[in-house]
């Protein structure tokens, strides 16, 4: 994975599942369907939340993410629904799209 490109103006969103261990960013939106989306949001992964990928399981799935002072693990297909933008990109109203 290359570094994040520029900020607003260019497309810089990535899915959480594409980040490597140690990489981080800010949640920009949660996709996916009803139950899963709601659960992810209610666990605190809402737009604006700073996160960091803490570790991956031996078979690279699930991934474990650090945010709000605790650690949450998600399957890769669940992490696909979480979109991340680089940390410096906080000032763009309406997120980076």
């Amino acid at each position: 994975m290359g570094a994040f490109g520029g900020c607003c103006g260019t497309v810089t969103e990535k899915s959480l599942s594409s980040l490597a261990v140690g990489e981080g960013g800010v949640v920009s939106k949660i996709g996916g369907d009803g139950g899963l989306k709601r659960r992810i949001l209610e666990m605190g992964l809402v737009p604006g939340t700073e996160i960091r990928v803490e570790r991956k399981a031996p078979l690279n799935d699930p991934v474990s993410v650090w945010f709000r002072g605790y650690e949450l693990s998600l399957r890769v297909d669940e992490a696909d629904a979480v979109f991340i933008r680089p940390k410096g990109c906080a000032g763009c109203g309406g997120g980076c799209r």
């Binding site: 939106k29 399981a57 031996p58 078979l59 699930p62 709000r68 605790y70 650690e71 949450l72």
Partner: protein, 676 residues
């Protein structure tokens, strides 16, 4: 005057410790109506009143995304407790507060128990209790439940709040911001002109919850016939809000709630940044425990150790219990015979009643020990790591990472393994695991395998036994795949699981948990097992005068009637049918039954069996023994864990069909290959 108080909070906040500290031994365990999630109740006295505490499932939110959340939300909404205690983790206040804020919005009077203050202090976290209390508008009591600190203070504050209830409840309104507020105003105005959507739920909160798509509120709006009107307001006014925010309304509501929580946390919490908290001991352990190289081997080692130790420690105790009941049976039989009771009554008491009670009690040691280990794994935080490293593999079969533990335990005994499915939170994962567990070859099936393999496969006996274990696993995996994509197709499996910091489990909690599990089994599954044992005794002993389980008994007649059915599987004779019938009591009984029926005793069986079986039909018979309906105790455990007769009968029918189909397939396939 009695009050009802709900106890709620996130998992891993010491909620159970707090419940125990509050109520002591004054507890009662049951189930929530209609579901098999445990419901605990306890009582404590304070001042001049008695308070009933209902322990709600440990949850992160009230969003009803899981069964546990549904139960908690439903209890708070419908049963309207007089007050709720929310247990928060002082060392991770932010995450704990989300649930508290949701409950505040519902208008439930609250007291916040700020638990694990010792851990918080170690991490350099200071919480301004006064400030937190004034920001939220509720009493906040610091506690360390494991050391029973702050408990009396908590009871006092709870009681004060209950007594002051005459005052109108604090109306709490979360600031949702200038973009969302006009939308909620419109909906609130509309809702205020109607009767309460859910009695006691403030109109403002109903509007918020409808907007975020809360299932309970959506359903209530549907029932009240105003769902369309509310949706019309949403689509009319919501679109512009969504456009200006940049995301959908559900995301917006939950994001604002978290925003409020973060704000409160930032004001009330100070961190001593000189303490390097992140590279904590937990983290260092995790570098090993979840590592690419060691993660899986360590997990296998731990679960294997649990498996070995459960049976190594439990088996001697089981033998003692068995011995006790056997001698008790013999003594009472001798006593009753001299007292002049008829043979059939003596046999009923010895083999039916005492034997029946014995066959229930022998499960206690294994259940007790296994659940002590499970409590240690869960309480320490390792269980979540195990699920984390195993999830990829188990998910291939449509199961959850934690399903591995009950499946492994199944090789020992299906009964405790079925009870171990309680570690799975989602009903779907639990049901599928329960349904495939009977295929894991328990240790009671081994004597049957060994006997037949020894008699028919000579030098290849070991391979034959091993192949049966593998067959069981393959059938279980296949069944999991099929069930997951048919009967449980609609329900998705989810992980989204916290990896809590490691902590040392308390011995008291572990023993309490193990005792509860064992005792509940005796209480709930005991009657069913006992009745089945008695029923089998009746069938084997009637009509009067026949030898127990012989050709002339009712069992023998049933065997003869069923025998032709087993023809295609290669064992169409009544002895096999009778042996399988008795195998329902306990699978190892198949061996003893053949011994008795062939008049050979168990020792002479190796020589006697070839008069009935060929090697091919013997293997088909073993396949049947492996796969058909598990023993009565496992069926009772299944019933207890699912709470459903419908699913229990389904399990009995489908395992038996799979067993029969497998046996026919082996026999007919073998004949086609010229093995017959």
């Amino acid at each position: 005057m009695g009050y009802t108080v709900a106890l709620t909070g996130n998992p891993n906040t010491g909620k159970t410790s707090l419940f125990n500290a509050l109520t002591g031994s004054n507890q009662h365990v049951g189930n929530w109506p209609g579901v098999t999630v445990e419901r605990k109740e306890g009582r404590f006295r304070t001042g001049d009143g008695e308070v009933k505490v209902v322990d709600l499932p440990g949850i992160y939110s009230l969003g009803a995304a899981s069964l546990d959340e549904e139960i908690a939300a439903d209890f708070l909404l419908r049963s309207r407790p007089d007050l709720a205690i929310v247990v928060a983790d002082g060392s991770n206040l932010e995450r704990s507060l989300y649930l508290a804020v949701q409950m505040l919005e519902m208008g439930t009077p609250l007291v916040l128990a700020l638990n694990m203050m010792d851990t918080a202090a170690e991490k350099g976290i200071t919480i301004d209790v006064e400030k937190l209390s004034s920001l939220l508008g509720i009493p906040v009591v610091p506690t360390v439940a494991r050391r029973k600190e702050g408990i009396e203070d908590l009871k006092k504050r709870v009681f004060e709040e209950l007594k002051n209830r005459t005052a109108p409840p604090n109306s709490f309104s979360l600031p949702y911001g200038e973009r969302l507020a006009p939308l909620f105003d419109r909906m609130e105005a509309f809702l205020s002109s109607k009767p309460d959507l859910i009695p006691g739920l403030p109109a403002r909160t109903a509007a918020v919850k409808f907007t975020e798509g809360d299932p309970a509120v959506l359903a209530a709006a549907e029932t009240a016939g105003i769902r369309r009107e509310l949706e019309a307001i949403l689509s009319r006014e919501g679109a512009s809000v969504e456009a200006s925010l940049g995301y959908d309304l559900q995301t917006a509501v939950i994001e604002r709630r978290w925003g409020f929580v973060s704000g409160v946390t930032a004001e009330a919490v100070t961190r001593d940044l000189s303490l390097k908290t992140r590279l904590s001991l937990s983290d260092r352990i995790d570098r090993v425990v979840t590592s690419r190289t060691l993660g899986l081997p360590l997990f296998f080692l731990v679960t294997w150790a649990v498996f070995r130790l459960t049976y190594a420690l439990g088996d001697p105790l089981v033998e003692i219990f068995e011995g006790l009941f056997e001698s008790l049976g013999e003594r009472s039989a001798a006593f009753l015979a001299t007292a002049g009771l008829s043979d059939i009554l003596v046999s009923f008491i010895q083999d039916g009643l005492i034997g029946g009670v014995g066959s229930v009690v022998v499960f206690f040691p294994h259940i007790f020990i296994l659940f002590a280990f499970i409590a240690v794994l869960e309480d320490s935080g390792y269980m979540a790591r195990g699920a984390f490293v195993m999830d990829r593999i188990m998910h291939l079969m449509g199961l959850h990472g934690k399903s591995f533990i009950p499946m492994l335990m199944g090789f020992g005994c299906n009964v405790p393994s079925m009870m171990a499915t309680r570690i799975l939170e989602r009903p779907r994962d639990r049901m599928i695991t329960l349904l495939i567990l009977p295929f894991m070859s328990c240790s009671a099936r081994l004597p049957v395998f060994v006997l037949f393999s020894g008699a028919f496969f000579g030098a290849h006996a070991g391979t034959a036994v091993f192949s049966l274990y593998i067959l069981g696993i393959v059938v279980a995996i296949g069944a999991a795949k099929i069930l997951g994509s048919t009967l449980f197709k609609g329900e998705s499996s989810q992980l989204v699981m916290e990896l809590p910091p490691y902590h040392i489990p308390s011995a008291g909690m572990v023993l309490r948990h193990a005792w509860e599990r064992g005792f509940l089994f005796l209480q709930k599954a005991g009657t069913f097992i006992l009745l089945s044992v008695v029923a089998v005794w009746v069938l084997a002993s009637l009509p009067r005068g026949v030898e127990y389980g012989s050709e002339d008994s009712l069992v023998g007649s049933i065997g003869k009637a069923l025998a032709p059915l087993f023809g295609p599987a290669g064992f169409g004779f009544w002895q096999a049918a009778v042996a399988l019938f008795f195998g329902f009591l306990a699978k190892e009984v198949v061996v003893g039954t053949f011994g008795a029926l062939l008049g050979a005793g168990e020792a002479g069986l190796t020589a006697a069996l070839p008069s009935l079986f060929t090697p091919l039909s013997a293997y088909a018979f073993l396949v049947m023994t492996l796969l058909y309906v598990p023993c009565v105790a496992a069926v009772a455990a299944f019933k207890r864990e699912t709470g459903s007769w419908k699913w229990t009968f389904f399990m009995i029918a489908y395992t038996t069909l799979v067993g029969y189909g497998g046996a026919v397939l082996v026999y007919q396939g073998g004949r086609l290959l010229g093995l017959g």
